[in-house]
């Protein structure tokens, strides 16, 4: 990076080289704050016939040039740095997921302990974890060797044993690697990068075992004691090796690497980074989702711990059939307020799979696609909850009071009651015809409890902001809050169950214009109140005084009164009285009637279109 102080950075260009498109953004300092100026997009050119990623980057930046009027590229087609007046940029950063992103295998001794920590390190670094090898994964050694050979990952993270712990198990894993003699996916003739982040006592034995077989790098143990993870050294090394080995082998990346002022990061790793930054800066608990065509990534920060999962087979186009198969027809159709022929439905799903770029052309198709999205989100979140857990294998301290309430170790960190913000991104959420639809998809997919802010990433610039945050945190955070997110509003959902439609919540909102809205919410009812954005585009705030019924919880215990400042957005305040855990009415007529009622109340679809269905 050039020797620029953060305060001297006024113009920033950032790109994200995705599998299909390369997205560029231009950020400028306006007065005291950094704002997004324009964005440009062009097809990614990593594949044949171009086989040079920089061509796509230049095309995207050229679009930014055109839209902003700023000259960024010189005559030779190179990015001009530093900026001078209306020419050039101070820094240029980039992320990449082109060519399938970073594909890794991880290995550890016990599946739920060091192997899981290794998986967490790899996922957090933005990798797709192809497989997890563990001593107790119930596979025979020859099956494990065969698997390592078949998958051809970009790199392997080997861990196992605490410091001073087992060496035999870790060396056995290294022997498996040695026997498999794995080859990297890219770059024929290169040795596969292997990071060893296990028991320090086993380092010598590992080195001896893997000598001349792989390109071994040793870092600090990612689980020095069972009570604590130390994922940062392994993650940083993954990023380094991603640059050195993976990116260096991909077409055009060597050139791109010379242009950037910060190391190129894997796209999901950068998204995770900005999420963690925002959560840390604002002291909030965040869940983010990126629902793509083939995969769904979920990021969460609870109690300051960042977790990311990739549901590799849950997506809206390539993987849509799998969503349908995993969720089941009934689960998808429960969100649809009309009846469709099963054969017709299956045809629609398969069509979407073989023609992934098609978008819904009718109201029925839109409702159906959004129903699938809700199920994909729900399933991906279930996977995430089971992965984002407290560490397993840790000694518990008890008192006699625990006699009948012994909590099981490895509980999930995800607590919907304390979740402050839910951020969605990905085509189906970001490009929904109405923002309210994105809000309802997030609510139905994640079932937030108590008070939760909802937002969508407007143009999916979180990756660029993530990598920018490594160089200029202030700019990244400001643009994230002001331009990246489209604030949808706040969802207020009391947790609890009832059998009849009684009042479950007394609410009072003191709106910014001095108006007071008061009323009660019935069980099974949804309501929406407008609370928009100010002239700067920031969400308006209102004071909410909420008194739930005795059996219902809004974060202050059952029946506890809550007084809190809530944020508005393009949708506003949504009161969700459907209870948690949520159950749709089993009677088909009532279900359809209820779905329509909620959709009309929240203004999800045009009413006349709903009436026609």
């Amino acid at each position: 990076m050039k020797d620029l102080k953060p305060e001297d950075i006024n113009i920033i260009v950032a790109t994200d080289c995705g599998s299909t498109t390369t997205k560029a953004i231009l950020i400028e300092k306006k007065g005291d704050e950094y704002r997004l100026i324009v964005r440009g997009e062009a097809p990614t050119t990593v594949e044949a016939p171009f086989e040079d990623v920089t061509m796509g980057v230049l095309n995207a930046v050229a679009e930014v040039e055109e839209l902003s009027g700023r000259k960024i590229l010189d005559e030779k087609g190179k990015i001009i740095t530093p900026s001078n007046g209306n020419v050039g940029t101070d820094i240029y950063v980039s992320t990449s997921s082109a060519g399938g992103g970073l594909q890794m295998m991880v290995a550890g001794v016990v599946r739920s302990m060091t192997a899981e920590s290794a998986e967490r390190a790899a996922l957090g670094a933005g990798a797709i974890v192809m497989d997890v090898i563990a001593s107790n994964d119930k596979r025979l050694p020859h099956q494990q060797i065969q698997r390592i050979r078949q998958l051809r990952p970009d790199m392997i993270l080997l861990s196992g044993g605490i410091d001073g712990g087992t060496t035999t198990h870790v060396v056995e894993l290294a022997e498996l690697l040695s026997a498999a003699d794995p080859k990297p996916r890219l770059g024929i003739g290169y040795q596969l990068p292997v990071i060893y982040a296990g028991n320090i006592n086993a380092r010598e034995a590992i080195k001896n075992t893997l000598l001349n077989k792989v390109d071994l790098t040793v870092v600090e143990n990612l689980r020095p004691v069972l009570e604590r993870e130390n994922l940062l050294p392994a993650r940083e090394k993954i990023h380094d090796l991603f640059m050195e080995h993976v990116m260096a082998q991909a077409p055009g990346y060597k050139k791109l690497m010379t242009w950037t002022d910060a190391p190129i990061m894997p796209t999901p790793g950068a998204v995770g980074l900005i999420m963690k930054k925002i959560a840390d800066e604002e002291g909030i608990q965040v869940v983010g989702v990126d629902i793509g065509g083939a995969t769904t990534d979920i990021f969460s920060v609870f109690q300051g711990i960042f977790n990311r999962t990739v549901s590799a087979n849950l997506g809206m186009s390539y993987s849509v059939s799998n969503v349908f198969a995993e969720a089941g027809l009934d689960n998808v159709m429960r969100w649809v307020p009309f009846h469709l022929d099963e054969r017709d439905l299956r045809n629609r799903v398969k069509n979407k799979m073989i023609r992934p770029t098609t978008i819904p052309q009718s109201m029925e198709e839109l409702i159906f696609e959004q129903a699938i999205a809700k199920e994909a989100l729900r399933l991906a979140f279930i996977q995430h909850k089971s992965f984002a857990t407290v560490l397993k294998g840790v000694q518990q301290q008890r008192t006699i009071a625990d006699a009948f309430d012994q909590t099981i170790g490895g509980q999930t960190l995800v607590n919907m009651m304390t979740l402050d913000m839910l951020i969605g991104s990905g085509g189906v959420l970001s490009h929904a015809p109405r923002r309210h639809q994105a809000a309802l998809m997030l609510i139905d997919g994640f079932m937030p409890e108590a008070i939760t802010r909802l937002a969508v990433d407007s143009i999916f610039m979180m990756p660029q902001l993530g990598v920018l945050s490594t160089v200029h945190t202030k700019a990244a955070v400001e643009v994230f809050n002001k331009d990246c997110l489209i604030h949808l509003g706040t969802c207020i959902a009391p947790a609890g169950e009832l059998k009849d439609e009684r009042d479950i919540l007394k609410y009072k909102f003191e709106m910014p214009d001095g108006e007071t809205i008061e009323g009660t919410l019935k069980y099974g009812e949804m309501k929406k109140f407008p609370l928009g954005l100010d002239e700067k585009g920031d969400p308006l705030k209102a004071k909410a005084i909420l008194e739930p019924l005795r059996g219902f919880d809004l974060g202050e215990g059952k029946g506890g009164k809550v007084e809190k400042e809530i944020y508005g957005g393009v949708t506003g305040i949504i009161l969700d009285g459907r209870g948690r855990p949520f159950n749709l009415p089993t009677d088909d007529k009532i279900r359809v009637q209820k779905l329509k009622e909620w959709m009309i109340t929240l203004d999800i679809y045009p009413n006349e279109a709903l009436e026609r269905l």
Partner: protein, 399 residues
């Protein structure tokens, strides 16, 4: 001067009158009482003898209406002091004395009858000095019954229990997921073994200090089988010090089988299980010493424990091991709960094997037994409520 003669006369007259009165009071009842003692009490009536129902034969039940002179309790003023039960094989034959009962009794149980012989019974009321006999009963034979109907409810409950066990075993075999609530201590078994594997340290399994005739030891050894299977899969080091030779042999066989089932017979070593001493505190001291020297990563206490429970568990806690205890000894549970990571309480110890192995037969039995327990608990609850409201006899209450 006072007239002395008149005074003397008056005193004599009074003495005479008083003597007559006292005599008449003493003498008048005598003939009445004497008359009552000599009269026999009214005889018992309606003597009926019948074969005792729901038995294996050899007994006859005799019932009668007590004498009209019997006030029903044993007291001095009761004219009937008791009854004698007489038996004969002929109505006009010689009656032998069978037994005696107190006043107020109205039944007798002849447990010395022989099957298929006609018996006649008479009841003799015993007065103070005389007695009276009832008429003989109708002839009756003692017989064995095929079915003891008095146990029909026990049979019904056993039938429900057996059927529900069979039903749930079948359900489990067909692949239906049987719900068993999560037991934290058992969920943590893999974590404990995993911890030992990662740390490269030993796992100690303590099967209690009782012998193989104790149900808790048997449950503990059964759980050992499941734990050993996991240690075989994880290639972790397992050690079982025992205080009974029979337990040692059983544990060895259990572990050997578990390692074979896990496909790792090569990892089994007889010396994993060894005998220390039968002495309670000798054993405790030895095990504590092992804990301190070996610093195991996981310790299991599963079986019957007494005073050594806290000594062992505290040492285990001190060396930083994950500890999972299980015992049916209520007195030791608080110690285990406070000092261990997880504790299986009572029933959980016996359910552990089914829970861990997920074997359809064991799971089905567990669920079936739950049905039985639910029925028993239901009746205990109903009974307690009825008693609380003063209902002691349901038949009377329903009438």
């Amino acid at each position: 001067m006072r007239p002395r003669i008149s005074t003397q006369t008056s005193n004599k007259t009074y003495a005479l009158i008083l003597s007559i009165l006292i005599l008449s009071f003493l003498l008048i009842p005598i003939p009445v009482l004497a008359q009552q003692d000599t009269l026999p009490p009214s005889p018992p009536t309606e003597v009926k003898a019948e074969d005792t129902p729901n038995d294996a034969g050899g007994s006859i039940t005799i019932i009668w209406k007590k004498s009209a002179d019997d006030i029903g309790v044993v007291r001095d003023d009761n004219k009937v002091k008791g009854y004698e039960i007489l038996r004969s094989t002929r109505t006009d034959g010689e009656y032998e004395l069978l037994g005696k009962t107190t006043a107020g009794a109205e039944s007798y149980f002849d447990s010395h009858a022989r099957n298929n012989i006609d018996y006649f019974y008479k009841i003799r009321a015993l007065g103070l000095v005389s007695l009276s006999e009832s008429l003989p009963s109708q002839p009756v034979k003692a017989k064995a019954q095929w079915v003891d109907w008095s146990r029909k409810y026990t049979f019904l409950l056993a039938l429900i229990l057996a059927l529900s066990i069979v039903y749930f075993i079948n359900q489990s075999k067909t692949g239906k997921e049987l719900f068993i609530r999560k037991i934290a201590g058992l969920e943590a078994v893999t974590d404990a073994v995993g911890r030992a594997t990662e740390m490269g340290r030993k796992i100690f399994y303590i099967p209690g200090i009782s012998d193989m005739d104790n149900m808790q030891t048997i449950a503990g050894v059964t759980i050992l089988g499941q734990v050993a299977k996991i240690t075989a899969e994880y290639e972790a080091k397992l050690e079982v010090p025992t205080s009974r030779s029979l337990v040692m042999v059983s544990c060895r066989e259990t572990i050997k089988e578990a390692y074979s089932n896990a496909g790792r017979p090569d990892l089994f070593n007889e010396n994993m299980v060894y005998y220390l001493t039968d002495d309670q505190f000798g054993y405790t001291a030895a095990v504590d010493g092992l804990f301190v020297r070996e610093k195991p990563a996981a310790i299991f206490f599963q079986g019957q424990f007494y005073a050594e429970s806290l000594i062992l568990a505290e040492t285990g806690n001190y060396v930083g091991a994950i500890q999972i205890a299980g015992t049916g000894q209520p007195a030791q549970l608080p110690f285990f709960v406070a000092a261990c990571d997880y504790t299986l309480i009572g029933e959980e110890l016996f359910a552990a094997s089914a829970y861990l192995s997920r074997d359809p037969k064991l799971l089905g039995s567990l669920k079936g037994q739950d049905v039985g327990k639910f029925i028993f608990l239901f009746f205990i609850l109903v009974g307690s409520i009825l008693l609380a409201f003063g209902v002691y006899d349901l038949r009377v209450f329903l009438r």
